[in-house]
Symmetry: C2
Subunit: 750 residues, 2 copies
């Protein structure tokens, strides 16, 4: 990556290629496909948070004239077979099967038990009541702290804690423990002039994507099947669904519909395998669409956490030791983002001594899914709150404190690699110079600042670019576009090919029309799929040069390439992309290029957010009155979408900090499974979020791209909670800072 490269298209604010389809309503989302002869599927869900299933009687439902098929866990016979369980990664698939349709136990309120396909949606819904389930209700385990107690009811009597020094001798709700360390924290704390430690809590929250899970599937007589669904990764839907249904990959085609939000929550399967079973049994296409209530109760929310963070610093602000214990709720099955939580919690800091332990713990809530920078917001919330408290107690400006300890090129991360060049210092400097940071606050107002880190991963991407005889082309990628990535791909290909952006049409192809692409997540798409686009474009350019060489009767090495033009270095000839493609039939057929990669490296990025709030001391209501999001994009391919990601991350983080939480009653029943009671921020709740794009090129990407989607949700939890704390004079350690909790804090203080 040369920083000096001047871009022609990258960095422009172009029209998004999918815009018209979306504003006209032509774009087809998960529920928008209907097929001839299609029937409807509905799911019977558990009314209990924790219960053994003693018996399921399907006979009455089966007798219903409109019911054409019923699915239960018994329709995964191979998953239960010894051979399968002895095979590769069986546990994950068994858990997935048991989450999709409960085996002999329901593990959360809303857990799927059986599915019915009927001639109409209402008939399917009505017939659910004909299924008779006999339960043995068990005590629900609803909090990570309770779940970890030795006396807690155990969800899975075959689950033994992994990662302990000695093998566990009895079943536990703790799925695993991990530990990361560098240096010697005891020695570090000994050097400290000030040590602050606190407990923190973050609630179960939902990604709040507007589009519910929806799918239409067709299982065909010859064993072929098609799945249409709203997903962040249709290739991985294919992989897991094929495993659940014991199908060869090549028999299953998955088409990603347009997606109405995912934020990590659409990276697994709920309806798809069930719908396929119903379709296989009924011989008809089946459509299934979740209600909002089902989305809340039975998709994958973000983990609730309890953390303890302890940080020591010298008077001059030098941090000497950082220690954390992070307990993540996984929901009903193991697999919280505890790992990335541990890896990110202290990464903004270049500190010698660190010790982090993490616990992945099952509770009677829906199995968590990824949620934007999974694990990092919860973990870094705790760390940043303590950092701010240290700054306050030492009387050091929080930016200065962070600058003194900031991670930078060469910093040894606690999880492995040394950082290459990163932009945290530049973000902190930008925060210091921001109009917001210079502005004064009034009564009942407070200001919070926090840093945040996320990896931005690479991985597998495949891209094909097909050229047309007029020099235009299509870009086939396999990464569902959840944040404007089609525009990014278009711009990167245009840059590399040297042709105008509107000559290239980016398409998210199905699993049959492009080779494997990993799920859109980890902010990998513009980084990794972008690299595959660049490679495919380079493959096209290589061929264009060969074709020009053939026209000129010279070697390809004698052809230069600049700005979409082949240059004959042995003469004055020039050929444009359009000219070469037009005559491609004379030089060997039309041109297509491919790029297939497993992207090395990552795009580590940092953000710094500034939040000003005003607290109503009478009601405890918090208004965010000004907010600035500053983040290192590496290189902002399309600045408007980068800004949109910063703003979206901030908005979701503000919601998490201020209002959002799953509210359960004592029986483990969720009481606010709707957008009226689970309150995500509305436009009217927020000020215009100001953004600053920092561009410190990522050495792993040819254009310097980092990935921008996730880092922005990491700082808000601490930035907002610190601002509230400053406004009311009490450290807010538990989220959300909702009016009741803020009011209680104010009253507790007074």
């Amino acid at each position: 990556m040369s920083e000096a490269r001047e871009f022609k298209y990258i960095g422009q604010r172009t029209i998004r290629p999918d815009g018209y389809d979306k504003v006209t309503g032509r774009a087809n989302y998960g529920a928008d496909l209907s097929l001839p002869g299609m029937i409807w599927g509905k799911i019977l869900r558990s009314p209990h948070a924790h219960a053994n299933i003693k018996n399921i009687d399907l006979s009455k439902a089966q007798a219903h004239p409109d019911v054409l098929a019923i699915a239960t866990y018994q329709d995964f016979p191979h998953v239960q077979s010894e051979a399968f369980q002895a095979g590769e990664v069986p546990t994950d698939i068994i858990d997935l099967a048991r989450n999709v349709l409960a085996d002999d136990k329901v593990l959360y309120h809303g857990h799927a038990i059986a599915a019915i396909a009927a001639r109409s949606e209402s008939a399917a819904q009505d017939a659910l009541s004909l299924i008779e389930v006999e339960y043995e209700v068990l005590p629900p385990v609803m909090d990570v702290a309770d779940a970890m107690k030795p006396e807690a009811a155990v969800l899975h009597n075959n689950m033994f804690t992994q990662g302990l020094a000695e093998p566990a001798d009895k079943a536990s709700n703790i799925a695993s423990r991990m530990e990361l360390k560098k240096g010697d924290v005891a020695a570090g704390f000994a050097l400290a002039d000030l040590v602050v430690e606190r407990d923190f809590y973050t609630p179960t929250v939902h990604q709040g994507y507007i589009e519910p899970h929806a799918t239409t599937v067709r299982f065909e007589e010859n064993g072929q099947a098609m799945v249409w669904c709203s997903t962040q990764g249709h290739f991985d839907v294919r992989a897991s669904t094929a495993k659940l249904l014991n199908m060869p990959l090549g028999k299953l085609k998955v088409v990603a519909s347009e997606i109405g939000g995912g934020f990590g929550g659409k990276t697994t399967v709920y309806l798809e395998p069930v719908a396929l079973i119903l379709s296989r049994k009924s011989g008809k296409p089946v459509k299934m669409v979740m209600t909002r209530d089902e989305v809340f109760r039975a998709s994958g929310p973000g983990s609730a956490t309890r953390s303890h963070v302890k940080i020591g610093a010298m008077k001059d602000g030098t941090i000497t030791a950082m220690q954390a214990s992070l307990c993540f709720e996984a929901g009903a099955f193991k697999g919280s983002p505890m790992g990335p939580g541990c890896m990110t919690v202290f990464t903004p800091y270049d500190v010698e001594n660190m010790y982090i332990e993490g616990y992945d713990v099952v509770v009677n809530k829906p199995k968590v899914a990824a949620y934007r920078a999974p694990g990092a917001p919860q973990a870094e919330f705790a760390a940043e709150m303590v950092i701010n408290e240290i700054a306050s107690k030492l009387g050091i400006d929080p930016i200065e404190l962070r600058l003194r300890n900031a991670a930078k090129e060469g910093t040894q991360t606690v999880y492995g690699p040394k950082l290459k060049r990163v932009g945290l210092v530049e973000c902190l400097e930008a925060a210091k110079n921001s109009p917001q940071y210079q502005s004064a606050l009034k009564a009942n107002q407070g200001r919070g600042l926090a840093a945040g880190f996320w990896f931005n991963i690479g991985g597998l991407s495949s891209v094909t670019i097909n050229m047309n005889p007029d020099g235009s082309g299509t870009i086939l990628e396999g990464s569902p576009d959840i944040g404007g990535s089609r525009a990014s791909m278009q711009m990167m290909a245009a840059e590399e090919l040297g042709i105008p952006i509107d000559q290239l049409k980016p398409l998210v192809a199905d699993t049959e029309h492009v080779a494997y692409n990993a799920t859109t997540g980890g902010s990998r798409t513009t980084f990794a799929t972008g690299m595959a686009v660049i490679e495919a474009a380079q493959d096209v350019v290589r061929q264009l040069k060969e074709r020009a060489a053939a026209v000129w009767n010279i070697t390809a090495e004698q052809v230069d390439w600049a700005d979409g033009v082949a240059i004959n270095t042995t003469g004055d000839d020039r050929l444009t992309v359009a000219e070469i493609c037009k005559d491609a039939e004379k030089t060997g057929g039309q041109i297509a290029g491919t790029g297939n990669i497993n992207a090395r490296g990552a795009g580590p990025s940092f953000a710094v957010h500034l939040c000003d709030v005003e607290v109503d001391p009478d009601t405890g209501k918090v208004d965010v009155i000004r907010y600035t999001a500053i983040q290192d994009a590496g290189k902002a391919i399309h600045p408007s979408y980068v800004e949109g990601q910063y703003q979206g991350g901030a908005a979701q983080g503000i919601g998490w900090a201020l209002n959002e939480e799953y509210i359960y009653n004592k029986d483990g029943i969720m009481e606010n499974a709707g957008f009226l009671d689970y309150r995500i921020p509305l436009a009217s709740d927020l000020p215009m979020i100001e953004t600053v794009i920092i561009e410190i090129p990522n050495s792993f990407h040819p254009f310097g791209v980092r990935g921008v989607g996730e880092t922005g949700i990491v700082p808000p939890l601490a930035a907002v909670a610190t601002a509230v704390s400053e406004a009311i004079g009490v450290v807010m350690t538990d989220l959300p800072c909702s009016p009741p909790r803020v009011l209680a804090a104010i009253h507790g203080k007074s």
Copy 2:
């Protein structure tokens, strides 16, 4: 091409990959796509064969509440512009525009004048009567001989005969003349002991595809458009439609539906540009479906011809000279298959002296389209009838006469190249040895034999093969499958990759998901697209070897490949395709290969057909009682489909010989525009057609493929007419040999 290659998959009779979709009705044909908000288009057609349009009054139609758009020729403004007309190939596009919607003149009964889009199909149909057209009726020119007379009414007053020794000085119905010659026919005829010459006539016939033309289109606000249609070549639909609508190629996506027959007739556009204009004007998706009546009157039938053939031979059967004059009807606009007619007429013969002239002539009939081996059946009919008459008059067996003069390796064709190894002699020997040829005939029966030749062209094909992590894959090709080519592609890729056939899924991709493919026609698909498949598979194998080399830490050159297995030549290691694909993420991402070619050469092939008929002397009805089709396939990839092509070609040729013809009244009105009156052969009309596959490898194709779809329609016309002639003792020079004409021949004789 090594003849010794042993095939593992090629040559098997596998299950066709599209079979289930077709027998279950799941396959979607031209009329099967409906879109939200879709409206219907219908076309107003000329009631006259030849007339000037004095005025079109759209006002009443426009006022109809259900009418949302009207299209006329005025909607092609750029086609009329001077700039466009000065550009590249303007005439063809102007003719196409004027065929799609008439300008100031209607040129055949059924010629499109205007199109209406309305909220329902019936409203569109009803509103057509509100369009008021004022005509000046002109005398129709309905026969090629009449059209060529100096006094004939002229269809196009700006059309001057091309190809004359001196430029034409006045407009004519003769669009062009061409001439092919070798040696000196005068000298050749001087050597002859016997010269036979005759005039021949073949009628206008239709391909008779069961599925009418149908399309659904959507023109979008941002200038993008989508066309779904039944076509043999969606890339060429894109090219011509984009030109007619003045759109960039990259804005127009064309999807080929499943196709219910084409036979050459679905290689151009009728409805698609009109529907797009209606969609652009109305802002809604538009569907248009032709009735059978419209298909007959206004799609592209096969040329009627009048020919004169003169052949001289010595007593021993050596042919000394061959001469032909071939007059082809082009229909309303220039462009009959006169060229291939001239090129093929005598190609089965290795004769020193040949002279052929051809005329392309416009008449007041629908513009002809390609029809299976376009031009060859009509031309070779005339030649083969004369050859058979010579055999009869010289008392030489018609097979022996042909063997004495048969084209073979090294024969100089009249149109250019020398033949490489071909299979005519082998076909003739097979005919001689066939059970049918050994069998005896009874009273009122006759036997006819004829040879036939077709080129089987190459051209542009692009293919992508995407591998899956389990070692299965998809083959993306862009050639609509009109004869089982998906199976061929699947088998060729399996052969090259060394993996089972059912591991590969062949897909006909739309214009955006694969690079340019020429239209399925000329029997090019299995030959040329097959070569692109093989190249793409070789590209995959190359990468598989590289990946295996990476695993083994050796160079790709140290890896051998055999039967789907990579072999470490420096050790004992082996890796299968599935193993390499499974671990592809560790070696650089998943694997995709491309093959983009302009296939060199062709697959010249010969056929010999044997026909036995019985004639009812009282009614003139002819029954085909036995039929054998013998043809050189080069290499039969899937023998069942090869046989099916032989049988289909024979069946269509028998229909052409016995019953099919456009019947016009004196005003040029077609009187039999339906399958009851235009009688194609039914299953009950035909015996089981026996087939013999000859396999003489084509040196241009790695597996030896020639192409098998078209040659089989060339011999039947002469084989059947000769059999009828033999049965009744009168040479039948005019087709069809329908009962009235056969009866007249019998009565003329007696």
